[in-house]
């Protein structure tokens, strides 16, 4: 089982380390040929406009949409969540993969001086530290989207079938539970496909 981390821009290194600490083989994905090798994909934090633009001009974005629709498990953190969303508030022209039935607002908590860390209670996982950095907010979600955790009455960890998204950055802490959850999603599919 091999999990890819989209390495066009952002904190992909931290996700690779988190996967390696869980004993999972990880691959930095920058090309279409690397994308074909993976059983699951993480889209890291970074700037959604930057990652989106590179994904668009290289055709990697288009391919991600296809394999996601075939059921490949994908987890997006922060910018990754924005790229999974079907729509962004006030930014109709920004490119996204449009895979999840969520509408997000970028930088919804404010600029960097408003960035924060907080302890959260997450269903099935328990208490964990969440780091929000110029984080997006989910302002609308479809009926097929399951809310796994909320903060301040806003969903911050959501799942829609093979797609998982968080507005915070578990890769910046030593807590591996959310990565573990995603690895299990990938392992389950890996088993069923074989």
């Amino acid at each position: 089982m091999l999990i890819g981390v989209l390495a066009l821009q952002g904190d992909f290194r931290e996700h690779i380390w988190a996967l390696q600490r869980l004993g999972v083989e990880a691959l930095a994905v920058k090309s279409l040929s690397e994308l074909e090798k993976v059983d699951g994909l993480i889209i890291p934090g970074g700037e959604s406009t930057s990652i989106g633009r590179i994904a668009q001009v290289t055709g990697i974005g288009e391919r991600i949409v296809q394999i996601a629709k075939e059921g490949l498990p994908i987890y997006g953190t922060c910018a990754g969540m924005i790229l999974l969303a079907k729509k962004i508030v006030d930014r109709p022209n920004q490119y996204t993969f449009g895979l999840m039935d969520i509408i997000v607002q970028r930088n919804a908590y404010g600029r960097q001086i408003e960035s924060f860390e907080v302890y959260l209670d997450v269903a099935r996982l328990g208490k964990l530290k969440a780091v929000f950095i110029r984080a997006p907010k989910i302002v609308e979600l479809g009926k097929d989207v399951e809310v796994l955790a909320s903060y301040d009455n806003t969903p911050i960890l959501v799942q829609q079938d093979n797609l998982l998204a968080s507005s915070f950055h578990p890769e910046l802490t030593d807590d591996l539970r959310i990565h573990e959850y995603f690895v299990k999603m990938v392992a389950d599919r890996h088993e069923s496909v074989r």
Binding site: G45, G46, E47, S50, R53, R111, I113, E117, R134
Partner: protein, 292 residues
């Protein structure tokens, strides 16, 4: 309970810039070109370094109106520069809400002995460095991100290369040192021993390390990535080139595909004419010598 402005939040924000290009801009129109090209942040300036060099005199923080204009124009993070040691300029920019402050040698220093105590701020800081000791002194003062100084506004990458190679070489040396050598080495380079120990343990700086100062082509940007930079700042290199939008898009791709020569070739084919360059030996002012 929520906590803002923590070390994790500041350092973590800098991690998000990795593999990206931060571009100097002097108005809303340039900021939009940078955002559209895929910049991870813009640096709001009154003048790009090449023009600061030409103008001479005292270079200060940009006007508030200028920074506001740029903050309103784009959705990506906005950085701005303060003079070395100018605590008040930094407090003003923090109150304005800029996302990152560059305590920069490109402006005229306000303090000829001390840098700002950056731990006291909620907003994160980036500082320039020419070697490991200087980088660790800035981190000890609270810098959440380091960049090489290079020689800004010259379009000549040689100084950035020199500084990046020096930092990387010193990191490799620290890794091979016995623990008992670290205290003397810390004294020698003028850095806190705790941070020298951390460098040995991590095999890298404890914060993100970008390249800056003289990067003028996508090949320059790729070169800095090959030498170990986490990303690049491009100052005059974009908006002093003949076709800024093309150059900006090419820089962004070069920083992602630095280790793919076929891609670099494709990226470098249609970039227009780069900014004119200056020979370091002919310069009257060496900005890199500012900072202590």
């Amino acid at each position: 309970m929520i906590e803002k402005g923590t070390w994790l939040v500041k350092k973590g924000f800098a991690e998000m810039f990795k593999g990206g290009v931060i571009m100097d801009v002097t108005n809303a129109e340039q900021a939009k070109i940078a955002e559209e090209a895929g910049a991870v942040a813009v640096m709001a300036l009154e003048r790009v370094p090449a023009d600061i060099r030409k103008a001479g005199g005292v270079a200060r923080m940009a006007s508030i109106a200028k920074i506001k204009e740029i903050m309103d124009a784009v959705s990506i993070p906005v950085m701005a520069k303060v003079r070395i040691g100018h605590i008040a300029e930094a407090r003003i920019l923090e109150a304005l809400g800029v996302d990152f402050i560059d305590e920069s040698e490109v402006l005229t220093p306000a303090d000829d002995r001390f840098h700002i105590n950056k731990h006291e701020f909620k907003v994160p800081f980036v500082c320039g460095a020419r070697d490991l000791g200087e980088a660790l002194r800035r981190i000890a003062e609270g810098a959440a991100m380091i960049r090489t100084k290079g020689e800004a506004g010259t379009g000549n990458v040689v100084e950035a290369v020199k500084h990046m190679r020096r930092v990387m070489d010193e990191i490799r040396r620290v890794q091979t040192m016995a623990d008992e050598e670290l205290v003397s080495y810390a004294k020698e380079i003028g850095a806190p021993v705790e941070l020298v120990r951390e460098v040995k343990r991590l095999g890298r700086l404890p914060v993100v390390n970008f390249a800056a100062g003289g990067i003028a082509t996508p090949a320059d940007a790729a070169l800095m990535m090959m030498l170990g930079a986490d990303g690049v700042f491009v100052g005059s290199g974009i908006f002093k080139s003949k076709e800024p939008a093309k150059m900006a898009r090419a820089m962004v791709l070069a920083v992602t595909y630095w280790n793919d020569p076929e891609m670099l070739l494709k990226i470098s084919e249609d970039i227009g004419e780069p900014m004119p360059g200056l020979e370091i030996g002919t310069l009257e002012v060496h900005m890199q010598e500012r900072g202590w």
